[in-house]
């Protein structure tokens, strides 16, 4: 194992890149684009160092560093990852170059655009690597600002409303979390501390746990988003520029689920256990409701946004069922959703670049004009609807299996969601790609170019890879997932080992 601080370096590469981009002289748009691409690629390469140095047999935190920061308030710069954060970080660094590629078509105000995008990456990476509550909250909030500007400045028609809604919804949640963090800070044994690992040893009364958990949950539930706090998502997704949507869906939504896994459950296990049925109920409602609402959307991006609500419902369900399968599946599903939905947004973005409309009604029959595009879209849609052999299935299956182990009946409505997923995705696919061409402009849409294919190819490859051989992912997730599940269950794990009659 190398001593090189891969993790810390990878967090700050994008920030450094953003600063560097600030010095690019005016009018050098290409330099900005290639520079941003280079930065994100370097970050990805360095993150591979994180991946290869990761010891999969260690369920604890590794590869991090710790430095005193504000001694008076016990704030430290403390990082470290386990198998859960590892994949979140990989997902972020992986998606980011694709996001930059997707931004090739942006022509106005490139400099701030890429600066915000890169700053966003640092923020997101920081969220996943922080082991100090203060640091975590810092990164957590900091991600809001670049995203706010990305939506508000480079978004589409209703972008201001969307940006505002995005910011305020998430802010309200996170402010409550801040209160809880401060409470924890003072409640810590042996003097106030923001140190996550020390806070883990807290033994809070259940009543206290309850409201602290709810405060954290408020923040994470908005981010995930759980029904009924999801309404910012369709707006934000729809109006954001392509890269924004990709990052938002691909990574930022995971921050909520990640937060629940990292903080919600381990810090407040009893409360988490208590609220688990309610949260699972919300998750299942989200699965069904998201799918139903998605089916009726007239706007492609909105549809995908609602599908995210449904998908994240699976993630949350998996997290709270209290089985290793569910937890691992939920975590894997986070990655899967990032890939699939990211790809969907990239595709819709490419389509928008060509026709400047996202309305389903403006399309129809374009599979004939853009076969590569149609094929890729179908492929990604299939991944999204959980076709076995592609990534979505592995995650959803494990979640459902995990659910089945602990909450037998809940699996029925949840699994019903996979039927609905087929309904809304295929129906939308049919309306966009099948049938005769009704709008004349659609006859002359150019198919995907090399750049777009290049940005989708890695996604496609991973979608297949995870679908066929998820082992490298699962074996790194499992130790950490097991730990969290043990915390949720108060020490014991439920696995599929026991055979019992129904």
């Amino acid at each position: 194992m190398s001593d090189f601080p891969f993790l810390d370096v990878v967090i700050f590469i994008p920030l450094a890149g953003a600063l560097a981009l600030g010095f690019v002289p005016k009018g050098r748009d290409d330099l900005l684009r290639w520079g941003a691409l280079a930065v994100t690629l370097i970050a990805f390469v360095v993150s591979l160092g994180v991946l290869f140095n990761f010891d999969m047999h260690d369920a604890g935190f590794q590869l991090g560093s710790k430095a005193s920061w504000i001694p008076d308030w016990g704030v430290t710069y403390s990082t470290g990852i386990d198998g859960i954060s590892l994949w979140m970080i990989m997902l972020t660094t992986f998606l980011m170059p694709l996001g930059v590629l997707a931004s090739w078509t942006i022509t106005s105000r490139l400099k701030p655009y890429f600066i915000f995008l890169l700053a966003l990456e640092t923020g997101m990476l920081g969220v996943f690597a922080s082991l100090d509550m203060f640091l975590f909250y810092l990164f957590w909030e900091v991600t809001l600002i670049p995203m706010y500007f990305l939506i508000g400045m480079w978004g589409y028609g209703n972008r201001i409303y969307a940006a505002m809604k995005f910011f305020l919804f998430t802010l309200v949640g996170s402010l409550l979390m801040l209160v809880a963090i401060l409470f924890l800070y003072f409640a810590a044994k042996g003097g106030p501390t923001f140190d996550y690992t020390k806070l883990l040893t807290l033994d809070l009364a259940t009543g206290t746990q309850r409201w602290l958990f709810l405060a954290f949950f408020a923040s994470f539930a908005v981010k995930v988003p759980l029904v009924p706090l999801h309404t910012w998502l369709p707006d934000a997704h729809t109006e954001a520029p392509t890269a924004g949507s990709v990052m938002l869906a691909g990574v930022m939504l995971k921050m909520g689920a990640y937060g629940l896994i990292r903080f919600g459950i381990p810090l407040f296990p009893e409360a988490a256990k208590e609220f688990a049925p309610i949260i699972m109920g919300l998750a299942i409602v989200g699965i069904i409701y998201g799918a139903l609402v998605a089916a009726m959307q007239k706007d492609l991006k909105r549809l995908i946004a609602y599908s995210s609500v449904a998908h994240l419902g699976f993630v949350i369900l998996g997290i709270f069922v209290g089985t290793v399968q569910g937890m691992s599946g939920g975590i894997l599903q986070m990655v899967n959703h990032g890939l699939s939905t990211g790809a969907l947004f990239l595709l819709v973005g490419a389509l928008y670049d060509r026709r400047h409309t996202r309305l389903i009604a403006d399309y129809g029959g374009i599979a004939a004009t853009v076969p590569i595009f149609a094929g890729l879209f179908l492929f990604v849609a299939l991944s999204s609807l959980g076709l076995p052999g592609l990534n979505g299935f592995v995650g959803e299956f494990l979640v459902l299996l995990g659910t089945f182990f602990s909450y037998r009946w809940w699996v029925i409505p949840a699994a019903f969601g996979i039927i609905l997923a087929a309904v809304y995705l295929l129906w939308a696919y049919q309306r966009v790609f099948h049938g005769p061409i009704t709008v004349e402009e659609n006859r002359s849409i150019p198919d995907l170019n090399w750049r777009e294919v290049a940005m989708l190819a890695p996604l496609v490859a991973l979608i297949v890879f995870i679908g066929v051989y998820p082992k490298p992912f699962l074996e790194r997730i499992e130790p950490a997932a097991t730990k969290v599940v043990q915390q949720l269950n108060g020490g014991s794990t439920t696995t599929g080992d026991q055979a019992e009659a129904p």
Binding site: W73, V142, V172, L182
Partner: protein, 494 residues
């Protein structure tokens, strides 16, 4: 009756104030003699010198701890910290004002003198250990501010804001004075702290007498809170704030928001958290109510404002509410948090008004929210700086505003005022909305035609740069500031 005993005059405590008063008088006299013969920058130069000396003198007594001048002033860390902050605010305001005054072609001499006098008054306010001293200090800087607010005599709104501020200010000081009178009636003294005899002074009275004797003092406390509440713009004594902030010249608004708030709060903290600390069960409910009302009214009303200065005025009301949260627990931690908050809020808000002032164009024609359309494209640095300040005001991490919230809300939570902090969070969320609105206008709307890019003077740029750097720096590394605030103990610490 003892014969006249000449007081022992120690000047260490009030040296910074003296330096400022001297500097102000010197400016007036020197200008009267020399007139316009010297280059005009000598005036801000002199002011800077005076403020610098004052700052130096203030820092020089850091760590000392005594009651001086017949118990009239307390030389303690709390006062010193506040004075240093005030001197810094003064420096920033003077530099900022210089460019403004040149642009607006307003005579400068008295402006600097008044600013220096005002700061002297504020400094006296923060170290006053006697109610009547406090009152005179209050009146000194208030009078200076009335004039400064109306300094643009040719502007109707400047006059108007001056008159409103003045009338209400005078009105409120009668209540403050009545409070002093009742306190005097209750205790027979206006000193806050015991001198040699531990039973003297209001604090001594409270310690040495049964609580039942303090009833009149409680009433007096209520009136004192009213009077100082007016200064710090606490609801429902805030009504002057939007009008005065909007009408005053922008640098003055910034100065008021930073300095006047700090001075008022410092006095309030000194009063409540030391001298009247034994009465905390009586004043806490008042402060709780005021804090809640202040936070909510400030942030809710700001939502629909169309004038940036007015918007910032409402925001300053909301911030007053946040600072009040730091007063309520009255613990060491909460007081240092409040001090930290006041100092950093001052820097941030001065920065914000510096930007507002810099881009407002001659005659402050450009202060409506709509005038900021597309500012980012016209002047990215200014827009960026304003964004930074607004984010700090909104309490977004990486800015000092966030740290301020942490150090104020944290101790409150620790002291069990969880619900109060939750209310504060609600208010913060509402407040975020209007800060975001400004950003929306600056970044997400297309610029209107017809605005020539603002020419920002060198000093103003410097102020903006300094405050911006401070906002970020202390947002990332707040150790020095919080350490200082934590060491800023009262003369009489309970």
């Amino acid at each position: 009756m003892p014969a006249f005993d000449a007081p022992h005059v120690e000047l260490a405590g009030i040296a910074p104030e003296l330096a400022l008063a001297v500097a102000a008088l010197f400016i007036l006299v020197f200008h009267a003699i020399v007139g316009d013969k010297l280059p005009s920058w000598y005036l801000p130069g002199l002011s800077t010198l005076g403020l610098g000396v004052s700052l130096f003198l203030a820092v020089g007594v850091w760590g000392e701890h005594e009651l001086q001048l017949g118990g009239m002033v307390a030389l303690d860390g709390f006062a010193t910290f506040s004075k240093v902050a005030l001197a810094v605010f003064g420096l920033l305001s003077v530099w900022l004002a210089r460019d403004y005054l040149v642009r607006e072609e307003i005579e400068e001499v008295e402006f600097y003198a008044l600013v220096l006098f005002a700061i002297a008054g504020m400094m006296l306010m923060v170290d006053a250990a006697d109610l009547i001293m406090m009152f005179i200090a209050l009146e000194t800087f208030s009078l200076a501010l009335y004039v400064l607010v109306g300094y643009k005599r040719d502007s109707l709104i400047s006059q108007e804001s001056s008159m409103k501020y003045f009338l209400l200010g005078a009105f409120s000081s009668t209540f403050f004075l009545l409070g002093i009178a009742l306190a005097y009636g209750a205790t027979g003294t206006t000193h806050l702290y015991p001198g040699g005899d531990p039973t003297t002074g209001i604090l001594g009275f409270l310690i040495s007498n049964p609580a039942s004797d303090a009833a009149l003092l409680v009433v007096a406390t209520g009136l004192l809170i009213v009077g100082l509440g007016f200064k710090v713009a606490a609801v429902p004594f805030h009504m002057w704030t939007p009008d005065a902030y909007q009408g005053a010249p922008s640098p003055v608004t910034g100065f008021m928001a930073a300095g006047s708030k700090l001075a008022g709060f410092a006095a309030l903290i000194r009063l409540l958290d030391t001298a009247l600390f034994p009465l905390r069960w009586d004043w806490r409910p008042l402060l709780l109510g005021i804090a809640v009302a202040t936070m909510l009214v400030g942030s809710v009303l700001a939502v629909v404002q169309e004038d940036v200065k007015r918007l910032l005025a409402y925001s300053s009301i909301a911030h007053a509410g946040f600072v009040l949260i730091g007063l309520i627990p009255a613990t060491d931690l909460s007081v240092s948090g409040a001090l930290f908050y006041l100092a950093t809020y001052g820097i941030t808000v001065l920065g914000a008004f510096a930007v507002v002032s810099a881009i407002s164009e001659r005659g402050e024609r450009r202060v409506r929210l709509n005038d900021y359309k597309g500012l980012f494209y016209e002047n990215p640095l200014m827009a960026g700086a304003l964004t930074l300040f607004l984010l700090s005001l909104a309490g977004v991490p990486l800015t000092v505003g966030f740290v301020g919230k942490v150090v104020v809300f944290g101790p409150a939570i620790d002291a069990g005022y969880l619900w109060l902090v939750v209310v504060a969070m609600v208010a913060s969320a509402i407040a975020a909305f209007f800060y975001l609105r400004v950003m929306v206008v600056m970044y997400m709307q297309e610029p209107d035609e017809g605005h020539a890019p603002a020419r920002v003077g060198g000093l103003a740029t410097g102020v903006i740069a300094l405050t911006a750097v401070a906002t970020i720096f202390f947002g990332l590394y707040w150790t020095p500031l919080i350490e200082a605030a934590e060491k800023a103990k009262f003369f009489a610490n309970l």
